[in-house]
């Protein structure tokens, strides 16, 4: 067991595939016992980073310690304490639920009964299908089985690469409930997700894009650092309204958010009423404007635009 307060410490990790720079000078640390989320779109470098953390890839430069073990030098020791769920469903589709679990317990020389308490809540949901082949399970069920298999040897650090991608909203919510329970059992969890709304479920997050970290902090601190004032505007002709709002001199940006448009402006320069009358002048008689609070997605978009500029 490492003695530091960090489960993972990464210092200027870089990795390139030929000309493509997948990761550029990534540094971050994950505290023991927290859920740390990497939030970013496909191609941001999440999978590459996770493969480095799980000893599957060598970084070009930089060092990474997981539970005090070097991912390059101490890979053998590290592989005993890692739980890993790759992005693709990677269980044996032709083996049954039960056989998969037994197999993974076997290769880690773990005792299913001893560690069952860890997976009980998860596994009991799929236990009725114990004799069913893994390939015949629904998306949500596969997810649960994969998580059970990744947990059966009681890992110190659990690395989950996009566990909720392509999973429907209900299963996603259930999956996160399970992660929070595991965290309470003392497991450090690193999770990647393209869904911005999942950020608030993490203790801390790193927003990642084009192989760079845009920001690392608690979700609350990230949204607090949003430099603009935000209004939520509702109207009928959304597209037209967005273009209109973008032309307003005080408006920094306007983006669709579900049925509303989030308008970011320099703080304290204009009020909701000012915007309302501006829209009214330009034909949007029925708009509805309220002060809004930025979410992670607002921050992500803003940070993305900043780095792109």
């Amino acid at each position: 067991m490492g003695t530091s307060e960090y489960a993972i410490e990464c210092a200027s990790i870089s990795k390139s595939y030929g000309k493509v720079k997948a990761l550029q000078e990534l540094s971050f640390s994950v505290k023991k016992g927290e859920i740390f989320g990497f939030i970013g779109p496909d191609g941001a470098g999440k999978t590459t980073l996770f493969r480095i953390l799980t000893t599957l890839l060598l970084p070009d430069t930089g060092t990474a310690l997981v539970d005090g073990l070097d991912v390059v030098k101490d890979y053998k020791a590290l592989r005993r304490i890692l739980g890993y769920m790759p992005g693709r469903f990677s269980l044996y589709q032709d083996l049954t639920v039960e056989e998969n679990l037994q197999f993974f317990a076997g290769i880690f020389q773990a005792d299913i009964r001893e560690n069952y308490y860890l997976i009980r809540d998860i596994y009991e949901q799929i236990a009725p299908f114990a004799k069913r082949k893994a390939g015949k399970l629904s998306g949500g069920m596969k997810q649960k089985l994969a998580l059970s298999c990744a947990l059966i040897h009681k890992p110190v650090v659990l690395v989950l690469d996009e566990p909720t991608t392509g999973v429907d909203a209900v299963s996603r919510r259930e999956f996160w409930e399970m992660l929070i329970r595991l965290k309470n059992d003392g497991i450090t969890i690193v999770v990647a997700t393209p869904y911005m709304d999942e950020a608030t479920l993490c203790d801390r997050v790193a927003l990642i894009q084009h192989g760079r970290i845009l920001a690392t902090d608690t979700p609350q601190a990230i949204t607090n650092a949003f430099p603009w004032q935000l209004f939520e505007v509702k109207s009928t002709d959304t597209l037209n309204m967005i273009n209109l709002l973008k032309q307003h001199p005080e408006v920094h940006n306007a983006d669709m958010f579900g049925e509303t448009v989030h308008v970011s402006v320099k703080p304290g320069r204009i009020s909701a009423d000012d915007l309302f009358s501006y829209l009214q002048e330009h034909g949007h008689l029925q708009s509805e404007i309220i002060q809004g609070n930025p979410g992670i997605e607002d921050c992500f978009i803003d940070l993305m635009r900043m780095t792109n500029e």
Binding site: R51, T54, T55, L56, L57, L58, Y75, K76, R79, R80, L82, Y84, P86, R88, F89, S90, L91, Y92, Q93, D94, L95, E99, Q102, F103, F104, A105, G106, I107, F108, Q109, C149, A150
Partner: protein, 364 residues
């Protein structure tokens, strides 16, 4: 480790395709080769060179052609004509009688009969010659029961394939091809499948050592391939009456050696292929075709151009075919093929070392 082997067996038994390759193929192959190779000679065209044309040669000719086996071909006069007639495919065999045949026989000398067969189809050639031999011997025995008379033994010459692969050659060949196929192809595909489906990622991020993964993959196939080898032997013995003249234990031991060799080759292939398709193609082109073409299974090594002979020396199946040929057909022991066996052992060690070395402990 135990779990790993169990898992492999489950994969194999649940996959219809694997099961067919494993157990259907040996059956079909043996039956196919067995029946495709003609065991019966019927209406084979035979030409004759008979400068003497005396009563003895005529009698022999009559008994040859009165059998249902042979059809009368042409009467030829010179060596050139023999070549010519073979090339045109006009006959399968030419019977050449010596000049003054009856005269020599009468003087107590041994006149010669030469049987020249077109051995580009060695099995047919062998059969035809055997039949002809039988008829001629029979002819002399029934006619000349007087033991004092010299028995005429036809001199046999095989054209185009003087070494003549035996009729039963197909059994050693098939065992070799099938062991190669099942062992190498199946392991390489099954490892490549783990890469393709992403399960290899999870295996790598586990305490399993490369040697354990390799062994876990290999063990089930050693057993299954062994069962395969035994079933081919049983099949060929009971259906076609192919004997094992030498030691069965030795034969099986050599088979296991070859199986391990083929498996390590399969693993080697899997280290360079990332998906099942590549593994399949590589096994096909790198293993199957050389096994069939260069091992001496179909084309005798001795007749190959030098370059191909050297190439074939690099093919493990070539040595294995020689070994089992010796055991099965000649009934010889280890003393006669310890060299071949050593070559196989050396190859196996090299392949295992290289494949464990090449087996990646990380991705890409």
């Amino acid at each position: 480790m135990k779990r790993f082997v169990i898992k492999e067996f489950l994969h194999i038994f649940r996959d219809t395709r694997s099961m067919i390759i494993l157990f259907g193929m040996p059956l079909v192959q043996v039956l196919l080769f067995g029946f495709a190779i003609t065991n019966e000679v019927k209406d084979v065209k035979v030409s004759v060179v008979d400068p003497a044309q005396d009563e003895v040669t005529t009698a022999i000719r009559n008994s040859l052609f009165s059998s249902a086996y042979f059809l009368k071909g042409e009467i030829l006069y010179s060596q050139n004509e023999i070549e010519e007639s073979f090339r045109k495919g006009k006959n399968k065999m030419v019977v050449v009688f010596e000049n003054d045949f009856a005269g020599k026989l009468g003087r107590g000398e041994k006149p010669s009969i030469q049987l020249i067969a077109d051995a580009s189809d060695p099995n047919t050639a062998n059969l035809v010659v055997n039949y002809a031999n039988g008829i001629i011997n029979n002819h002399f025995q029934t006619l000349y029961t007087n033991p004092g008379l010299p028995v005429v033994v036809p001199e046999v010459r095989m054209m185009y394939n003087p070494a003549l692969a035996g009729v039963y050659m197909f059994v050693p060949g098939i065992i070799t091809v099938l062991l190669m196929l099942v062992s190498a192809m199946m392991t390489s595909i099954s490892i490549a499948r783990e890469k393709e489906l992403g399960t290899m990622e999870v295996l790598l991020v586990s305490p399993l050592k490369p040697i354990q993964i390799v062994a876990g993959k290999v063990l089930p196939y050693v057993l299954l391939s062994f069962i395969n080898a035994v079933s081919i032997l049983l099949l060929s013995y009971f259906v076609f009456g192919v004997p094992v003249n030498g030691s069965v234990v030795l034969l099986l031991a050599e088979s296991i050696l070859f199986i391990v060799l083929a498996l390590s080759l399969g693993i080697l292939i899997s280290t360079v292929s990332n998906n099942q398709q590549t593994a399949m193609m590589l096994s096909m082109f790198a293993l199957m075709l050389p096994t069939i073409l260069l091992s001496g299974f179909i084309f005798p090594v001795e007749n190959m151009p030098d370059i191909l002979q050297w190439l074939s020396a690099l093919m493990p199946p070539r040595w294995f075919i020689q070994i089992i040929k010796s055991i099965m057909l000649k009934g010889t022991g280890l003393a006669y093929f310890w060299k071949e066996t050593l070559i196989l052992i050396a190859m196996t060690i090299v392949f295992i070392l290289v494949s464990v070395k090449k087996f990646k402990i990380r991705l890409a």
